[in-house]
Assembly symmetry: C2
Homo-oligomer: 243 residues x 2
């Protein structure tokens, strides 16, 4: 048990929750390490949503609303951290939800699907096919889901797969706390924020944005500049770290 | 299996090794997440030893050589990543090695001890007592080990425990990739480097430093300034990230 007087109590509680999810087979053990990477970057941005991320979240909502076939790609980490928020966002955006895993086994797909459904998510099902030009089971996705999507939201994605989706001509929206990662750099739009902060807010924006705002946001963004802002914020926090 | 063409192959292989160690009960599941935090900071410093870290490693070797009762405190992550390097450093420094865990169970202590012994480490044994003013089993340590040490090397330490050891008047040398962590800030001397790079080099310094060098190093360091250098290096890498 984590002592409540520990200064990193909240962060440790999330870690414990994820450890339980890993023990249950929802998260891969490697997913726990990936979460730690995210934690470190979140720490550097101050564990709050930056201005640039807020703009990226608004823009992402606009892209989802304008999409013909939006799909939210969900992995173990996203499901363990934010199943309820995925349900909210699906509701607000009418996006399909597909379970898509780096460390893929049929058992994990089944468990993650069950977890999502328990939180009210409608999960796409079917026979996954090797549609992405990647070695490894990361290539597997559903022809009626990611395979034919025009806009794909990938929270916590692997850089290779992000690149493959972009190469297929899809609009890829990534949520990634590391503004330097290959995922962040190759996505069409990158949200440098923590998923449990980003997803519910994106849901609200999907409901609240006006048609005019949606048009302006969807045509007027510059992902390179959004990433630059995120990096500038991290830098300026480091500047004052040892004052 | 990780595809060999993955750009983060090495990092993913280490994650897989740690995942196996977690499955075997050497690492706690929370330790996997902690490793990810380290990975992120290592990524930011370019996965190489910085000049400031090299100086800190030399200084640490000097402090270990001059110590009357040096102890290396080893947790699951350190054992899983660097059991062989601990053996090397113990040999070169004559330090005692004590297993000291955040998520402590007798079974984990036993498994980590066995792993270390397999790599040639002499591990201190005995009845652990609640010697540190901390809630939780983090307080437990050996009276003849950390309890009576004058210099304690803590690779990958918890901030609270680091502070408690400093408060007891001990010289605490931390190895921590996050120069902003409470551990980094409260330790007497902080090495901002990855343990598998830091430990073998410290072993070599223990053998190679002259008496004169040892005296100069042990009396002339400024931990605040070492941390500032580390933060400056990270900042300057961020400056060029999106050039």
């Amino acid at each position: 048990m984590i002592p409540q007087d520990h200064p990193r109590y909240r962060s440790l509680m999330v870690r414990e929750h994820l450890a339980r999810c890993a023990a249950e087979g929802i998260l891969s053990l490697e997913g726990l390490t990936a979460h730690g990477r995210g934690e470190a970057f979140d720490y550097l941005i101050g564990e709050r949503t930056m201005e640039s991320a807020l703009l990226a979240e608004k823009t992402a909502a606009a892209l989802l609303i304008l999409a013909r076939r939006p799909v939210i790609s969900v992995n173990g980490n996203t499901a363990a951290l934010a199943a309820g928020s995925i349900a909210l966002l699906q509701n607000a955006s009418n996006a399909a939800v597909e379970v898509n895993l780096f460390h893929r086994t049929e058992e994990r797909v089944r468990k993650i699907t069950a977890l999502l459904e328990d939180h009210g998510v409608q999960v796409l099902k079917g026979e996954a096919e090797r549609l992405l030009p990647l070695t490894h089971d990361r290539a597997l996705c559903l022809p009626g889901g990611i395979g034919s999507a025009d806009v794909v939201l990938v929270p916590l994605e692997d850089g290779d797969r992000c690149q493959a989706l972009v190469n297929m001509g899809k609009t890829v929206i990534a949520i990634d706390l590391n503004p330097l990662s290959r995922t962040a750099m190759t996505a069409t739009l990158t949200i440098v924020d923590e998923v449990t902060r980003a997803l519910p807010r994106m849901g609200r924006f999907c409901r609240d944005l006006t048609k005019e705002e949606i048009q302006v946001l969807a045509t007027g963004y510059d992902n390179r500049e959004l990433l630059r802002s995120a990096i500038r914020e991290i830098r300026s926090r480091l500047d004052h770290a040892l004052d």
